[in-house]
Assembly symmetry: C2
Homo-oligomer: 199 residues x 2
């Protein structure tokens, strides 16, 4: 069965990117510290394989336009996604086809339609909400999120992009036990409860 | 050896109390959900014993004046602390002696002095920073915190008192593995690293 989830690295103070995010500073100041656990101690090839394994259960991705704008260059000509990526945007654009099965599709008809297209593409595979924070918040507000995974990094950034800012109250329940890795990162996996709970 | 730490329940969005904290609403709206894990499934006596066990390694407590103001009534005539509690305040007050070894001492000479008094009282036992958030932030800014424990409750409150607001960046490292309990709460235990790191 297909599950819709998001999967993000987050600081102890709730940031998924540092302050001053720009095209040339896509993770914000010090924001790369949130992702070090995926790269430190791994060769570039191992890190690539690690990412591909993370995405393997997924058949489609939802992504915000800003995240694509800052990511499309670093992700390169053969992104690790290997699946269709549906970009929620107000700016129409022809699909951008990359190597290895990744195509960026630009959806201007709203979130529900983007999810529908993702479902059709994913079949029985999962749908991952890549980010950014705005898209995750929209998906939470629309009751679309079924599960989420947080990689809790033991740093306080002191500023940046807060994942849960402006999100209506909700309750979750662990879908799996926590795992502490050798980088000091705690991996948390939750399932949404009372998804229809009003704010 | 004596360790200085704080130990707080926190929501997924970083709040240690809900919105609208007042004397008659000391945990803020919905804030009691952050502490349910200590009480649900336990009798009042079991909950009391649980709290006493948590405090057993501690020989002294630091507390903010507002926390005392909202807590002194509910904690009652024989608080579970069983140790001297040093209240950081601008308002002088005679010590308030409770049963069972808890005395509230009012320190108007600043944080460093409060810690010194707590150290003298604690001997080899630990010193726990009870809260509230303001006091924890002051202790972090002063480089006084050696360890901290967070009980990560799987709720998003959407507002309230954020623990790490205005705290300068820092890095921690796990002092123990994470533990997921039957209430869905993940218990995290960190040691401060680079305590002298400038903001």
């Amino acid at each position: 069965m297909s599950t819709v989830y998001f999967d993000l690295s987050i600081s102890l103070d709730g940031y998924i990117a540092g302050p001053n995010v720009t095209l040339s500073n896509p993770l914000g100041d010090d924001g790369e510290r949130l992702h070090d656990w995926m790269f430190v101690g791994r060769s570039a090839e191992q890190a690539r394989t690690f990412e591909e394994d993370v995405f393997a259960p997924c058949g489609a991705m939802l992504m915000g336009r800003t995240m694509l704008d800052v990511g499309i260059e670093p992700w390169g000509e053969e992104p690790t996604f290997h699946m269709p990526v549906f970009i929620l945007t107000h700016r129409p654009h022809e699909p951008v086809v990359k190597l290895g099965g990744t195509t960026y599709y630009f959806v201007t008809t709203g979130l529900a339609d983007a999810l529908e297209q993702a479902r059709a593409a994913a079949g029985d595979k999962d749908i991952v909400i890549a980010g950014g924070a705005n898209l995750v918040r929209q998906c939470l507000a629309a009751g679309m999120v079924e599960e989420f995974r947080l990689h809790l990094v033991p740093v306080v950034l002191g500023g940046g992009v807060r994942l849960f800012d402006g999100v209506a109250p909700f309750t979750a329940e662990p879908a799996a036990s926590c795992v502490l890795d050798s980088h000091g990162v705690t991996h948390l996996h939750y399932r949404m409860r009372d998804r229809a709970r009003p704010a």
